[in-house]
Amino acid sequence: MLFTSYTFIAFLCVMLAAYFLTPKRAQWITLLVGSYVFYAFAGAWYFVFILFTTVSAYIISRLLHRVKQKEDEYISSVKDTLGKEERKAYRARSKKKRFNILLWGLVLNFGVLAVLKYTAFAVTNANNILALFGKEAISVPSLLLPMGISFYTFQTCGYLIDVYRAKVEPEKNIAKLALFVSFFPQIVQGPISRFGELHEQLVAPHKFDLKNFTFGVQRILWGFFKKLVIADRVLVAMNTMLDAPENYKGAYVLLLVILYSIQIYADFTGGIDITIGIAEAMGIRLAENFDRPFSSKSTKEYWRRWHITMGSWFRDYIFVPISVTRPMLRLNKALTPKCGRLVASKVVAYTARTVTWLATGIWHGAGWNFIVWGLLNCLVIIVSESFEPLYKKFHDKFPRLTSSSAYGVFMSVRTFLLMSVIRSLDCYRNVPLTFSMWASMLTFKGIGDIFSGGALELGLGVSDFLIIFIAIAVVFVVSKISDIREKLYQRPVLSAALCVTLFISIIMFGAYSVGYDASQFIYNQF
């Protein structure tokens, strides 16, 4: 069930009504049932996997909790009799035990994800190697990927780690945990929520609140606007270029790269707006996933503002643990006398970062393009970090220039282009092709072509470009006004007028129900 399908809109209306009509205490049950109905639309078979994740997470979290409880009880009972060192040793032993339990949970859940998502990729690559030795190829299995498995697996494993770290109390009721795993608005594309932030809200009763509801509906409309008016329209031109990349080289590559940035921004942030809006209408606050990412002045900043919940997941559960593991500490210690503490720390941090980005790339999809994409991001961050002293010198030398707003715009545009180009790897989905396209892009060939009518042969007409342009301008202006919703809430008439305009714009200018061609209705007689 796509967000942009009539079925989903109908489902959503029923869901919202059902949620507020359910007695407060049972509201969470309505949500769970709704989430499972939503999931059932994707395929009944997929339930096996999400139930597996739910049940295994439940068992593991209970076990972790029991060991921790025992540990705490023991420590408090022997507080006065046992020495500090012995207490520490006991804690370490118990922690080790908990770690082993956690490991089971992670291996099981990531294992399922890995098998389903990466088997085909692994076998294909193994075949390539086998072919080198003239061996016969293994048949590539085609496994169906359950809807949202990357998102719910990560969210659930985050929960397990939080229980292990004793940051959250594990849920006692498995049905309530099931809701955390399957909450329908966010299961397809995130945001990846933290148990500590989301769970209480999911199971708590929520009264109908006009303000929350209005805000939620506004946000949903805004999401649909971005998705339908901008993203799906831009997609038409992109698909034309991607269907025959050999015909669209030179400046066209740059056009594609920019269009893709616009498309993915509108599509992804629009989708998240819908997700957050749905939750908000019910009085549930989800974590924000974007913070005007295209205004970032550096790659590092960009990654703090784009797909925030994913970035912070990888930071908290992969980057940080790796950089403070004992082997890393030992490495740091060993290197420090030889090359100084700064370099030693750099080696450690960069290693952890590379692993993190590799994992980020792989998480995005089974393909070399994603791996290369992850590593390139990592490289850009490391390189720009290494040049930081140089930048600083430059900035100190020309303070007037570098503090001007034009320089800020320059930095944002630079970051935008850099990120856009790297991102085009998942457009072409083919690493050598992408590289050759980048090379051809640098020639800027055909730029005159684009402006002398070429752009209009990509499946979009003048009116389409006009609509896209105006819609982007609207998105830009809205992003510049802080607290826009609060401000509008004070002026209900204006707010209502804008909502009506937004709704009508979506209906009239959305690129939905595509494939419709006006000319097919103007034809000659039967």
Binding site: S323, V324, L329, K333, L342, A352
Partner: protein
């Protein structure tokens, strides 16, 4: 406490760590500094800072960091 300040000063000599209380939030310390600090705490105090303690609240000021070390030592 002095050791903590000294450790921090080594990383950023120009910052007044005695009063600063937004080291992470204001972007003074980055991930590289954290890695250094954790290594330093390990060699200086023999305390391993576990991953779950690496959160902004524990690194935002010298005092917070000192309290963290004390607490880890106590446990």
């Amino acid at each position: 406490m002095e050791t903590v300040i000294k450790m921090l000063k080594e990383l950023h000599p120009d910052v007044d760590f005695e009063s600063a209380d937004g080291l992470i939030d204001d972007g003074i310390l980055d991930s590289l500094d954290i890695v250094s600090l954790v290594a330093e705490i390990d060699s200086e105090f023999g305390i391993v800072v576990p991953a779950e303690e690496i959160v902004p609240e524990n690194f935002n000021s010298a005092t917070a960091l000192f309290k963290l070390i004390e607490r880890l030592d106590e446990e």
